[in-house]
């Protein structure tokens, strides 16, 4: 750096070379990751190994070339960070789509990108098993090569990994959507340089992510109806709160209370801030159980499980055990934005399904792999509403908003309210877009929020037993962009499209 000063080199406002170099590095790693499904293909003696080898080697070569051509060594700045994050997910989807095409599984590139974006954004919406608008019949999930099934789950898992680091290490530094609020929860390096911080945070959190995946895979493997392959796939999908399954009928295919229980518990855990998991594992039980967001999340989950299960028991004639099993699974699955299914909630009585519709807007805790608005934001918004009422009665009172012991700064509150409003506006635009393509209100609104909230299954014609194959190409791009925007906390993507981003 000192040298560049000596040479009198001034960095441009957006250092495209730096962005390209870092993206090259990330593409390189994506290529390496693509070798894993190739190994699966070789183990099961599937012809799709070549598709993975071609994509992987192309990515590795291109990534390495970019990286070494630009040798990124400069300090990352805010604008470059926004570009890198957005393009990581976007390019990842464009590249990760190739194995579906090269192996001959999917004909439409759009479908392949949709599936990969759905994977990397941990959404879990699929176009498999249906007929597209152009009359192409996409294969059913069970008919896919195991390597491609593994790639779907792996894309979830990688996306989850990315999102943990993004929300806990990078976004707080960029001040996105009040994320700086959660920064203090994690005590790691205090370096204010972006790169060393991310690396240190990433190592710790990925260790926990990895460990929890292993534990869940083992617990699932204990059940006779799951082999190791399915156990790993579902563990990947659960920890990332994704929702891809190896079965067309999702978890319902296994029809086991034990599997339902394991997955319900791990979906719930995946919806908790991974920095808090880190605290729990390092023996700081107090800060875990006294965390306001976790408390709110747990209470909300319990309340919804209770009401939904009772509704199923009373109005839908489920047995008590079934009501609890299916009620809790669906509630946790939607609340955490996973999207696994053991029951078709669109067939429930109105009250039960309306309750579930509310949960489409919640999402897990911040710093988890869950999508949606996030618990902490909802908690703060609710507290703010309470404060507004109190302020009317006491016009001159100074009423701070507290989360736990912490007082929420006005600027953070403003960002969170801004986030909430923007979220609803984008949800509205997405729903309008889908209805322009000819879908009814419930299907349009459902598809929009299910994509924006990274949930997957939606309502109407996109219910948990249906898929997105029939959506026209424009609609698929709309939905996958919604997934990207929702996954990256709105502003990370949207800010790139503002004029101020490119001007000084």
């Amino acid at each position: 750096m000192i040298e560049s000063f000596k040479m009198g080199v001034r960095r441009p406002r957006i250092d495209i070379k730096l962005v390209a170099g870092i993206l090259g590095g990330l593409i390189f790693f994506l290529g390496v990751a693509l070798l894993l499904p190739m190994i699966i293909a070789l183990i099961y003696d599937e012809s799709s190994w070549s598709a993975f080898l071609i994509t992987a080697s192309a990515s590795i070569i291109a990534g390495a070339a970019l990286f070494f051509a630009f040798k990124p060594s400069e300090e990352l700045r805010m604008r470059e960070a926004f570009l890198i994050v957005t393009f990581t997910w976007f390019l990842g989807s464009l590249i990760g789509a190739f194995p579906f095409i090269l192996s001959g599984t999917l004909e439409l590139y759009t479908d392949a990108v949709f599936e990969t974006m759905s994977g990397l954004s941990t959404t879990g919406a699929t176009i498999l098993g249906g007929e597209t608008a152009n009359g192409i019949q996409n294969p059913a999930i069970e008919d896919l090569d195991k390597s491609l099934l593994f790639w779907r789950s792996l894309s979830h898992w990688l996306g989850g990994m990315g999102i943990i680091v993004l929300t806990l290490a990078l976004l707080p530094l960029l001040g996105i959507g009040g994320m700086e609020l959660f920064q203090a929860e994690y005590s790691g390096s205090t370096s204010d340089k972006i790169t060393p911080r991310i690396q240190e945070t990433a190592k710790l959190l990925w260790g926990i992510y990895f460990g929890m995946t292993i534990i869940q895979a083992f617990l699932l493997w204990m059940h006779p109806s799951m082999d190791w392959f399915e156990a790993i796939n579902h563990a990947f999908s659960t920890l990332a709160t994704g929702g891809f399954s190896t079965q067309n009928a999702s978890i319902e295919a296994f029809d086991s209370a034990y599997i339902d229980l394991v997955i319900t518990v791990f979906m719930f855990l995946a919806g908790i801030n991974f920095a808090m998991h880190f605290r729990l594992f390092s023996g700081k039980f107090d800060s875990f159980f006294k965390n306001s967001e976790i408390k709110f999340y747990s209470i909300l989950t319990l309340v919804f499980i209770t009401i939904v299960s009772l509704t199923l028991y009373i109005t839908d004639n489920y047995s008590f055990g079934n009501a609890l099993q299916y009620g809790s699974f669906q509630v946790v699955s939607i609340l955490t934005s996973t999207g696994f299914g053991t029951d078709d909630y669109t067939l429930w009585s109105y009250f039960g399904s309306s309750l579930l519709f509310l949960l489409f807007f919640t999402g897990g805790c911040a710093g988890s792999t869950g999508g949606g608005i996030k618990m902490i934001r909802i908690l703060i918004i609710l507290k703010n509403i309470g404060r507004e009422f109190k302020q009317i009665l006491h016009p001159q009172a100074v009423l701070p908003i507290r989360v736990g012991e912490r007082v929420i700064d006005q600027s953070i509150l403003r960002t969170i309210l801004g986030f909430f409003v923007t979220y609803l506006i984008i949800f509205g635009i997405g729903a309008l877009g889908m209805s322009m393509l000819g879908y009814d209100f419930l299907s349009s609104a459902g598809a929009s929020i299910a994509s924006l909230g990274n949930i997957g299954p939606a309502w109407g014609v996109f219910g948990p037993v249906d898929n997105y194959a029939q959506v026209p190409i424009a609609g698929k791009w709309l939905l996958l962009i919604l997934m990207l925007i929702g996954r990256l906390e709105l502003f990370t993507v949207l800010v790139i499209f503002t004029p101020w981003f490119w001007k000084n």
Binding site: H394, P395, Q396, A397, V398, L399, P400, R402
Partner: protein, 449 residues
């Protein structure tokens, strides 16, 4: 005793007055000429002009021969530095006012003794503590805990409709003879009476009564007060005292409903952020609209602790007008104290007096355990241990020849307390609680030595 006082502000002046009246050899230093002039004009003390952080000035003020140095300038840091230097220069004992109470916490990296300070005083804290006590006893104007909390001295105003108005103290005592108490002083229109059995109680008297802690409630009822519980409290002013008080109240187990009014928006915000169970209002405490909106009529207590004494009195008067049961005001001008009783305030708290109490406790040595001055009354409560040469051992009180203006209120003997009656006998080692006017105070040590 040779005493050096650094700082001739409100508290420094008050201390100089009290200590010089007690015939101590007082030197006051301050860098402000006007403050010093006020001291020399009014009091019989030596004044030295200069900063307390200057070693030369300290030496000039005679720090080397002083017994005690009291650092009470308005700045913590000056007090600390002056203390350190004075200790190094050979003063025997150092008392310093430090408002930042981090130093007295256990985990403080530096202890007060390392700073050369023997005793830290925090007058605002003491004042807040006093108010806190008074809130707990709604009908008291003063409350002093004596003999390790076994005996209480309570000051009450006698209302016009009280049943004891017009009775002599003997009648009063006979009427409620199921528990013992002793009226130790009556303040009537600004003058203090150390009463005898034949004195009559009049309406609007301020009476000071000593009783055992467990009889406090009965005593309050006997004096014609309902000791109703206080729930809703309004504090005017987020000053040091207001802040500390609000913090104390919010840590209480009791379920208070506290509102605090502070005119400065930034201070109001930082108070609101800190004090969880307190509703902080940003506004002027004398603004009648604000008080009405926030329901002053429903308040059980109104406590005015702003820096502006006059507005304290005015807002308390307003509160009284709105029929708030208990009004408490921070007043430090001694001229206002009798006035506050006349206009019906329930109690006044004085930061200066709180400081001088604290310092007195440190200065008086020997058998004297503690001293407490009472507001608006020219007398003090002293706790003393009856020593070997005590002149009144084994004599019933009625045959003791105590000087004018001295009265024995109670005795603590091996942990059991007793309110003094005519037949009470003092034994060696007893803790005796004495009520004495300033003229009599000097004789206390002489008698009980």
């Amino acid at each position: 005793m040779k005493i050096l006082i650094a700082g001739a502000g409100e508290i420094g002046f008050e201390l100089s007055r009290v200590l010089s009246e007690e015939k101590h050899d007082v030197t006051v230093m301050d860098k402000d000429k006007d403050c010093l002039k006020r001291v020399t004009d009014n009091l019989d003390v030596l004044a030295v002009e200069g900063s307390a952080t200057s070693p030369l000035t300290l030496v000039e003020a005679g720090v080397k021969n002083s017994d005690i140095m009291i650092a009470v300038t308005s700045v913590d840091e000056v007090n600390i530095i002056a203390s350190m230097m004075a200790k190094r220069l050979g003063v025997k004992s150092v008392i310093a006012r430090v408002r930042n109470n981090e130093f007295s916490q256990e985990d403080s990296p530096i202890t007060p003794s390392e700073l050369g300070i023997d005793v830290l005083i925090h007058p605002e804290m003491s004042a807040a503590r006093e108010i806190h006590q008074l809130i707990k006893r709604a009908s008291a104007s003063d409350i002093v805990s004596l003999a390790d909390g076994h005996i209480q001295l309570i000051g009450m105003r006698i209302e016009k409709n009280s049943t004891i108005v017009g009775k002599t103290l003997n009648d009063f005592a006979n009427e409620f003879n199921d528990f013992s108490f002793r009226v130790v002083a009556i303040s009537r229109r600004g003058s203090t009476i150390v009463p005898r059995g034949s004195n009559r109680i009049m309406a609007l008297d301020q009476v000071f009564i000593m009783c055992k802690t467990e009889n406090l409630k009965e005593l309050i009822t006997a004096a014609g007060h309902q000791d109703a519980e206080i729930h809703r409290i309004m504090i005017a002013g987020g000053t040091q005292v207001g802040h500390i008080l609000a913090r104390m109240l919010s840590k209480d187990q009791q379920k208070w409903e506290i509102k605090l009014i502070e005119p400065d928006p930034d201070l109001a915000e930082s108070l609101a952020n800190e004090l969880r169970n307190v509703m902080v209002l940003n506004g002027n405490p004398t603004d009648p609209d604000l008080l009405a909106v926030e329901g002053i009529q429903e308040m059980d207590a109104f406590i005015s602790v702003t820096d502006d004494e006059e507005s304290n009195l005015i807002s308390c008067l307003m509160a009284k007008h709105m029929e708030v049961r208990k009004t408490l005001s921070l007043v430090s001008k001694s001229q206002y104290i009798p006035l506050s009783q006349t206009i019906g305030l329930d109690a006044v708290v004085n930061v200066k007096a709180a400081a001088s109490d604290e310092i007195h406790r440190q200065i008086r040595q020997g058998n004297l355990l503690s001293v407490k001055a009472l507001q608006g009354i020219n007398a003090e409560i002293i706790e003393v241990i009856a020593g070997n040469q005590c002149k009144v051992l084994d004599t019933p009180i009625h045959s003791m020849k105590l000087p004018e203006g001295m009265l024995i209120g109670g005795i603590l003997n091996n942990g059991s307390s007793e309110i003094a009656t005519g037949n009470t006998v003092i034994k060696k080692g007893d803790r005796v609680i004495i009520f004495a006017t300033p003229q009599a105070i000097t004789k206390v040590e002489d008698i009980f030595r």
